[in-house]
């Protein structure tokens, strides 16, 4: 019994040790770049509970989530369409490969030129970076739909649109979700980057500004907040994914898992 509890507690040991170690080391060390833990915690409380939530955190999150929603709204239908039509897929392949390989931050100057320094340019950069994993995974998902399932629906005269809605979309959804998870991380990164380049508020702006004015503990609170944000968004996403794809887990548990699904979720 105690053994079992010990086994369950195991994952918590290392994080606690790291935190304690840093706390003990940082107070006497008085390192300029690595301020004492209590000081960081104090600053964190002052800044983020709840002083700058409305001015920095909320706009950042709103931008990121709306860009993420646009990426899904565009990426899934385009990806499915490309997965369905061989002609379209072949014609678009070089362009898609190029745009996907283009590092999104390189487009920031371009976005600034067109959209100015407002929300538009930031949304543009985030969407242009986050759309590819969703689009390409939707494409692969649509191509990988089981032929038997489609034949079954056709033999029962299920109309085309219903086949798309009830067979292709659910069958592709494990891949789509894998792409969406990757895109979530990318969207967060690009949110920060876009705010670092041309902005007057937002988390990315806050962190960079703190560093530039040598406000080290403040900078650390921003980094920690971004870390917590990344962790939470990922955790929320996994919960949703587990709920939506419960059938997929049940089915794959019975079959030997293939490497491909893991290998491609970049």
């Amino acid at each position: 019994m105690t053994r079992r509890i010990g086994y369950l507690l195991l994952p918590a040991i290392l994080p606690i040790a790291v935190l304690l170690g840093y706390g003990i080391w940082s107070i006497p060390a008085q390192n300029f770049y690595f301020p004492p833990l209590p000081e960081i915690i104090g600053f964190f409380r002052d800044i983020w509970l709840f002083d700058r939530i409305g001015s920095d955190l909320v706009p950042s999150l709103a931008r990121m989530l709306s860009a993420y929603a646009i990426s899904i709204g565009l990426g899934v239908p385009i990806g499915l369409a490309l997965g369905f039509s061989r002609l379209l897929r072949t014609a678009c392949e070089p362009v898609v490969e190029f745009l996907r390989a283009l590092p999104a931050p390189a487009l920031i100057p371009f976005a600034l030129l067109i959209f100015g320094a407002g929300n538009g340019s930031k949304l543009f950069v985030i969407v242009l970076g986050a759309i590819w994993p969703i689009l390409l995974n939707s494409l692969d998902g649509a191509r990988g739909v089981d032929r038997t399932q489609l034949d079954m629906a056709r033999s029962y005269q299920v109309p085309r649109l219903a086949r798309l809605r009830h067979i292709v979309l659910p069958a592709a959804s494990p891949r789509i979700f894998a792409g969406m998870r990757t895109s979530l991380a990318i969207a967060l990164i690009l949110m920060v980057v876009s705010e670092m380049v041309a902005s007057s508020h937002g988390l990315g702006y806050f962190v960079l500004q703190a560093q530039r004015s040598f406000a080290i503990p403040e900078m650390w609170t921003g980094i920690i907040l971004l870390g917590i944000l990344g962790f939470l968004l990922n955790a929320i996403f996994l919960r949703i994914e587990n709920r939506v794809l419960f059938w997929h887990r049940a089915v794959t548990r019975k079959r030997p898992t293939k490497a491909r699904s893991e290998a491609t979720d970049a």
């Binding site: 038997t148 399932q149 034949d151 629906a153 033999s155 029962y156 005269q157 059938w247 997929h248």
Partner: protein, 255 residues
């Protein structure tokens, strides 16, 4: 009721490539149970795809009740070999059965009734709220049969439907199929590579050779209702088995 004449199917753009189905002709009568027997790779599946309207033939035609089949007809239902792939894992058993009915112009109420009736007919009453992957292989194939029955077809096409279940389950499914065939008064075209299964089920057995062409045809004189023990012990059963075995094993006749 089902007429196949001069059916020919060649894959790919080259019409002179070796055909998968070559000049196949046969007819199936109303409420007849016909088994098509052939070794693997003889073009059985291609033939079924053409019959069901999933693929269009290169030449020849398929007529169902005097109407030419160009797309999947409404009076036909198809049961695939691989139940784990033809059932949709994201839908409950009940939805899997009723799903095609929604596009057939059947009212919701009638669709629900047909679904429950079909599930009851295959012995799955009360399992409607489970997911397919929570059922055993044999039960999953029964769901696929229920889906076909609920669709109220006149012809049931079955592509080696019991090939991926174990022997024990298989005999049970065979008896279940004979039972619903008689109760629903439908025509069944059943493809298999198992000689015993073909004799046990069919009124008539057709033997195919590659590329799909009728090599041999025989009527099964065994009385109905049939029984797994007594029917298979009759001397005619043994004779038929030998006859079909030879027909399957024979060298392809010179063209």
């Amino acid at each position: 009721m089902l007429d196949v004449s001069q059916l020919r199917k060649v894959y790919g753009p080259d019409p002179n490539a070796p055909p998968a189905v070559a000049d196949l002709s046969f007819t199936v009568a109303e409420q007849e149970f016909v088994c098509i027997l052939g070794s693997s790779g003889c073009g059985k599946s291609t033939m079924l795809r053409c019959l069901s309207g999933l693929d269009s033939p290169t030449a020849g035609e398929v007529r169902l009740r005097d109407r030419r089949v160009t797309k999947p007809p409404e009076e036909m239902a198809f049961v695939f070999q691989d139940y784990s792939r033809s059932l949709l894992p994201w839908m409950k058993v009940r939805r899997n059965v009723s799903f095609p009915l929604r596009y057939k112009g059947v009212g919701n109420r009638a669709a629900d009734d047909a679904t429950e009736e079909a599930l009851d007919a295959v012995g799955l009453a009360g399992k409607g709220d489970l997911y397919p992957w929570q059922l055993s292989g044999g039960m999953q194939q029964r769901v696929a049969i229920a889906r076909a029955l609920a669709y109220k077809p006149r012809v049931l096409l079955m592509d080696e439907p019991f090939a991926s279940v174990d022997a024990q389950t298989r005999t049970g499914l065979e008896d279940l199929l004979l039972d619903v065939w008689q109760r629903y008064e439908i025509t069944v075209l059943f493809v298999t590579h198992d000689i015993d299964e073909a004799i046990y089920l069919a009124d008539r057995v057709l033997v195919l050779r590659a590329p799909a062409q009728i090599r041999h045809s025989t009527t099964v004189p065994l009385a109905r209702p049939r029984d797994q023990l007594t029917t298979k012990q009759q001397p005619e059963f043994g004779q038929l088995r030998a006859e079909l075995f030879n027909a399957l094993d024979a060298q392809p006749a010179p063209a």
